[in-house]
């Protein structure tokens, strides 16, 4: 018996007349498409991803700016007149230089400039690319390693489970942010070298691996519990009775039933990873300048909160909207893939 059969049974339980003929994936997709809030969030996410991917297009073709190069002596156009990007105070003692605020003109410093005279809108789009990429890659590492470790631990049990579970308990014992900050602080100084592998301190791979690794227990623990539960189910015991090998049990009976859990975890871990990346970058131990991420832009904006709050607010809003969309989508995916949850929600 396979996961597909389980899915069909569950679908029948859900009272779907077409369920007997449809695959569980098709059923899940149908349920997801019916979830309007989740679909709106998918739209929001697609829009954010498309905007972020178009960052070079915006920077070079629309705003005509290089968001990685300081432009402290530059000028821009406001109401048809050239004005300096960094405005020198001329009142009183003449202290302070303030970056230009939002012009709301898509061609000229739409969201204003940061302390280096760089276009905040262009950096926001480039920063979004890095934040999304780091979040997605870290979430993929977390889900992949978490699933592998959880399945091995739950399926084989005994000493293997003991060693793996205790190792993960050690990681679990640290507050996750403290662990991520400690690892980043150590590795950001000299990068990471292990045999032939070397990651430079400015590489985006560093935050990806750090964030990806610290969250592994968050995925592997529930997966392990689910595998232990599956191991005792009738269809697995029947397969064992028929002489199925461990390999066949894993590939044909356990993994197909676990993969939905991993899929449900992915958007949630993506949201958490993005928040962690923003936190690390805000502490200067994530993405390194001149690279940008939403976290680094908030850090840049922190020094301008009093005069130019847009610099910090814009990436803050971007993170909030993206994480909200991912969480709502994650709930939708869970509802779609877990029919019992669906039953609960329609009761």
């Amino acid at each position: 018996m396979s996961g597909a059969v389980v899915g069909e049974v569950a679908a029948r339980e859900a009272g779907d007349p077409a369920a007997t003929a449809a695959s569980p994936w098709r059923l899940a997709r149908r349920r997801l498409l019916r979830n309007r809030v989740a679909m709106v969030m998918v739209g929001v996410l697609v829009l954010i991803v498309v905007l972020c991917l178009s960052a070079p297009l915006y920077a070079h073709r629309v705003a005509h700016t290089n968001p990685f190069q300081s432009n402290l002596d530059g000028t821009t156009i406001v109401n048809g007149k050239p004005v300096p990007v960094m405005v020198q105070s001329t009142e009183g003692l003449g202290l302070g230089v303030t970056p230009i605020g939002p012009t709301w003109d898509i061609h000229h410093y739409f969201l204003g400039a940061d302390q280096q005279g760089r276009d905040v809108a262009a950096r926001l789009l480039y920063g979004g690319r890095n934040s999304l990429m780091i979040g997605a890659a870290a979430a993929a590492i977390t889900c992949f390693l978490g699933t592998i470790i959880g399945v091995i631990s739950g399926f084989f049990g005994g000493a293997i489970d003991g060693v793996l579970s205790r190792a993960l308990d050690v990681v679990w014992a640290f507050p996750v942010y403290l662990l991520a900050i400690s690892l980043s602080t150590v590795l950001i100084a000299r990068g990471f070298s292990w045999g032939p592998f070397h990651i430079t301190s400015s590489s985006l791979l560093l935050p990806i691996f750090i964030i990806g690794l610290v969250y592994v227990p968050y995925v592997s623990r529930p997966i392990r519990g689910e595998v232990i539960s599956l191991r005792r189910r009738e269809f697995v015991e029947a397969a064992i009775g028929l002489g199925a090998t461990d390999r066949r049990l894993l590939w044909s009976d356990i993994l197909p039933n676990i993969v939905t859990t991993t899929i449900v975890f992915f958007p949630l871990m993506l949201a958490i990873s993005m928040l962690t990346e923003a936190a690390l970058s805000f502490l200067s131990i994530g993405v390194q300048e001149p690279n940008a991420s939403w976290g680094t832009i908030i850090l840049d904006g922190q020094d301008l909160l009093y005069t130019r709050p847009t610099v910090a607010l814009a990436p803050g809003i971007a993170i909030a909207v993206t994480v909200l969309a991912l969480n709502v989508l994650g709930d939708g995916v869970r509802d779609a893939l877990d029919p019992r949850a669906k039953l609960r929600s329609t009761e």
Partner: protein, 553 residues
């Protein structure tokens, strides 16, 4: 012959002056009292005056500790003048190697015990016992110092510092004449503390003081409290004038933004921190009368490690100098009222200063504009194009912004640069240690005393380069033997012919600038933002605001 008509006028003027001085001192007495409330983001570490090397506490030591000599407690350039403090006077032998100080009588520590010759001798030994950061630099020329540096615990400075209780004198013997020795005796590391002081860093436990105030309590997580020294009687207005407030406190922990707001609201009187960039305009307009901007003898610079790629190539280093838009950096610092572009080591107005700037579009005395085309050409010629560079800076707002700007410039001229920040708590020592392979970083240097050697010899002399050590202030690792020999020549010349020595320092300044072990960025100015109630603000160019000389009522 005297003019008869002028005599009555002179007498009248004298009478007016006496009345004026009398009423002025009466007015001054009216201002005595109250608590001056200072703020700082964090504590400045140990309170031991012979160990601490921060401006934060050196500023407070002016009202607490005394040495044999002191910088005059006065505003402006007068503050560079060295005057007798615990010593009533001193004489120097013809060969410049023997300094004899006569100790003043009747001065007591804040614990009530008198200051004796033994306290002075033991204080000099203690400089080495506590491994004062300048023991190997400022005081290494005292006879016996070499032994003390090797085995600090048993330091006696035998034959180096000799006390004569009967004559009430202390004699210091030097291995070679040192015309800058008077400056070195006037900094806090040469403070006189009781002979009973521990031979280790006193840390948070305050040592008895001789000045108008003593440290009543110190909790680095909370605050520092200074109270009037009950045993203090003013012996020299120039060296140790009595202060106005009854109590001075320095509270730690508030963010800089919160500190500025608290001062605006009159809850506190001053902050150690530089105001954030986004509050400068507000301070300069709404609070202009409470904002004091002062010129400093200091410079911001970016040392380039001359011993590792890519800056082990002269052209690569010069390219950085040509490419930097110093006006842009001035903007980062708050505008032209707060910083002035510079290309050389010595700051304006300093002994040996002669305006020089080869790294500009029109080379000459002053910087005018970057020459990016020349910089790109030099990078190409250096063969370092495409080299990876990490620009390191401290994590505070301005340092970080300067680091990011430098990375941007390096990328513009052909390097592959990233900017990295590390905590200000470890940055200074981290950047000094060659093991960390720092290629280029953002630094500031504020004078210890007014002599060209304090910039040129300390920052770029071979003797200041200690590979593998956290204490290697020659961060660029620049050791050019011919230039270093000239530095020694200039030091020796100072005692014979000071103007000639300064002329030589000026030449050395140009040579070091040409060799580009650093990119000089700008000369900063200093902002003090005080509350409305603070009066008689006096800024010493040597130790900045003289806190106890201001009143709060």
């Amino acid at each position: 012959m005297k003019d008869r008509k002028t005599l009555p006028a002179v007498l009248l003027a004298a009478a007016i002056a006496v009345v004026a001085v009398g009423s002025s001192s009466a007015r001054s007495a009216d201002h005595k009292g109250g608590t001056l409330k200072l703020l700082a983001k964090a504590a400045g570490g140990t309170l031991d005056p012979q160990v601490n090397y921060t401006l934060q506490y050196w500023q407070l030591y002016q009202a607490t500790y005394d040495g044999l000599l002191a910088f005059k407690k006065a505003g402006g350039d007068q503050a560079f003048e060295v005057v007798p403090d615990l010593a009533s006077g001193y004489r120097i032998s013809k060969d410049g190697k023997t300094w004899v100080f006569t100790l003043r009588k009747g001065i007591k520590f804040s614990n009530g015990k008198p200051v004796t010759v033994q306290d002075v001798v033991s204080s000099f030994q203690r400089i080495f016992k506590v491994k004062s950061p300048t023991s190997g630099g400022f005081y290494a020329g005292i006879v016996g110092a070499d032994k003390c540096l090797k085995t600090p615990a048993t330091c006696t400075l035998a034959g180096g510092v000799v006390g004569n209780a009967k004559a009430n004198t202390v004699t210091i013997h030097l291995t070679a004449p040192d015309p800058e020795f008077k400056f070195k005796l006037a900094v806090p590391h040469a403070s006189i503390v009781p002979a009973s002081s521990p031979p280790t860093d006193a840390g948070t436990k305050p040592l008895p003081t001789t000045g108008p105030y003593y440290f009543a309590s110190y909790d680095p997580n909370k605050q520092l409290v200074m109270k009037r020294n009950p045993y203090f009687k003013e012996w020299s207005h120039d060296a140790a004038p009595a202060g106005y407030p009854d109590e001075i406190t320095q509270k730690f922990g508030l963010t800089v933004e919160a500190q500025i707001t608290a001062i605006e609201n009159g809850q506190y009187d001053w902050t150690l921190e530089s105001p954030p960039a986004d509050r400068l305009n507000e301070l300069g307009t709404k609070y202009a009368s409470q904002t004091h901007v002062e010129t400093l003898t200091a410079f911001w610079y970016a040392p380039m490690n001359v011993n590792i790629p890519p800056f082990n190539n002269l052209k690569a280093r010069q390219a950085v100098n040509y490419a930097i838009d110093r006006n842009a950096l001035v903007k980062i610092f708050g505008g032209p009222k707060l910083a002035v572009p510079s290309c050389q080591v010595l700051p304006p107005g300093f002994p040996g200063y002669h305006a020089y700037c080869p790294y500009t579009k029109n080379p000459g005395a002053t910087w005018s504009a970057p020459d990016v085309a020349k910089a790109k050409k030099l990078v190409q010629e250096s063969g370092r194009k495409g080299a990876k560079v990490t620009v390191l800076s401290s994590d505070d707002e301005v340092n970080k912004a300067v680091g990011v700007y430098l990375a941007s410039v390096l990328n513009q001229i052909g390097f592959k640069a990233t900017a990295k920040t590390i905590s200000g708590n470890i940055f200074f020592t981290y950047a000094q240690n060659t093991k960390n392979k720092v290629q280029i970083n953002v630094q500031q240097w504020y004078q210890d005393y007014p002599a060209a050697s304090d910039f040129l010899h300390i920052l770029f002399g071979c003797e200041s380069f200690h590979p593998g050590s956290d204490s290697s202030i020659n961060i660029a690792g620049f050791c050019n033997k011919p230039i270093n020999n000239q530095m020694h020549k200039a030091l020796a010349l100072e005692s014979e012919n000071f103007p000639a020595a300064n002329k030589l320092w000026s030449k050395i300044d140009r040579q070091v600038t040409d060799q580009s072990p650093m990119a000089t960025l700008f000369t900063p100015r200093h902002i003090d933002f005080v509350s409305k109630r603070v009066g008689n603000f006096t800024f010493s160019k040597q130790f900045y605001w003289l806190v106890d000389q201001s009143w709060v009522q």
